[in-house]
């Protein structure tokens, strides 16, 4: 439990760092570190497939996409952020965490546990037989993503 809490604290810290850091490259890398910690948390919760997806896809692929975008867009002028934003963020975050902790403490033992049937079968059974419609939706979303990226990067005609 202590290790799990430490991992979750690290996850929140790296995510806050990703928001706070001015350098986009550093914030993308700290986002990847946060994903890595989330993947380890998933592994420890007994969800190895979700952990593998989180580490390989979110920490790997999405970070590469972010770094590619940052590399393609770094020649222009710097975006001037308001200075107040980074000063107010720690204050806001501490107040938010305190309110969050108080609400969670208040809710403790008050939410009734709903009955749930124990699970049978393997992950493959549940994914392929129980959530088949989800898989069809996933394929549709991936195709939509591919076509939209193709449409966004297509070469323009001369008369455009």
């Amino acid at each position: 439990m202590i290790i799990q809490t430490a991992l979750l604290v690290g996850l929140v810290l790296f995510s806050a760092l990703a928001i706070l850091l001015k350098d986009l490259l550093k914030s993308a890398i700290s986002l990847a570190a946060a994903s890595l910690l989330l993947g380890i948390v998933f592994f420890r919760m007994g969800a190895p497939y979700a952990g593998v997806f989180e580490i390989s896809v979110v920490a790997g692929l999405i970070t590469v996409l972010f770094i590619l975008t940052i590399a393609l867009t770094n020649t222009g002028e710097e975006v001037r952020e308001s200075r107040l934003v980074n000063i107010v963020f720690p204050l806001f975050f501490v107040v938010f965490i305190i309110i969050d902790a108080l609400v969670m403490k208040g809710l403790l033992q008050k939410i009734p546990a709903l009955p749930s049937a124990p699970e049978t079968g393997t992950f493959g059974d549940i994914l392929w037989k129980g959530r088949t419609l989800d898989l069809v939706g996933q394929i549709a979303v991936i195709l939509a993503g591919v076509f939209s990226v193709l449409a966004l990067f297509r070469k323009r005609d001369k008369h455009d």
């Binding site: 929140v12 998933f42 007994g46 969800a47 979700a50 952020e81 969050d100 994914l127 979303v141």
Partner: protein, 102 residues
Amino acid sequence: MTNTWFLYVFFSAALIGAGLYALLAKRNLIKLFIAIEVISKGVSLLLLATGFAKGNVLVAQALVVTFIVIEVSLVATALAIIINIYRHTKSLDIRKLAKLKG
């Protein structure tokens, strides 16, 4: 619900709160997208934690895998849109997107 569940809800609320703040306050498009990623981490943690607390990890895991796949598709499309916006305006500032010119 067990006490462990509240610990996970606490941390995912912290992630979602931080992401929402950045989404409201930042001006760089890539930074805004990093904020959306932070929110999505909070949501996937909450999904799996609820499954874990209920003893239904496998269903929650299937949902998280679906969520991650859709997230990747979203990221690819959104980053392509950001690169196109950059080519048009030569800047990543969202304030420059407020100027609608015919």
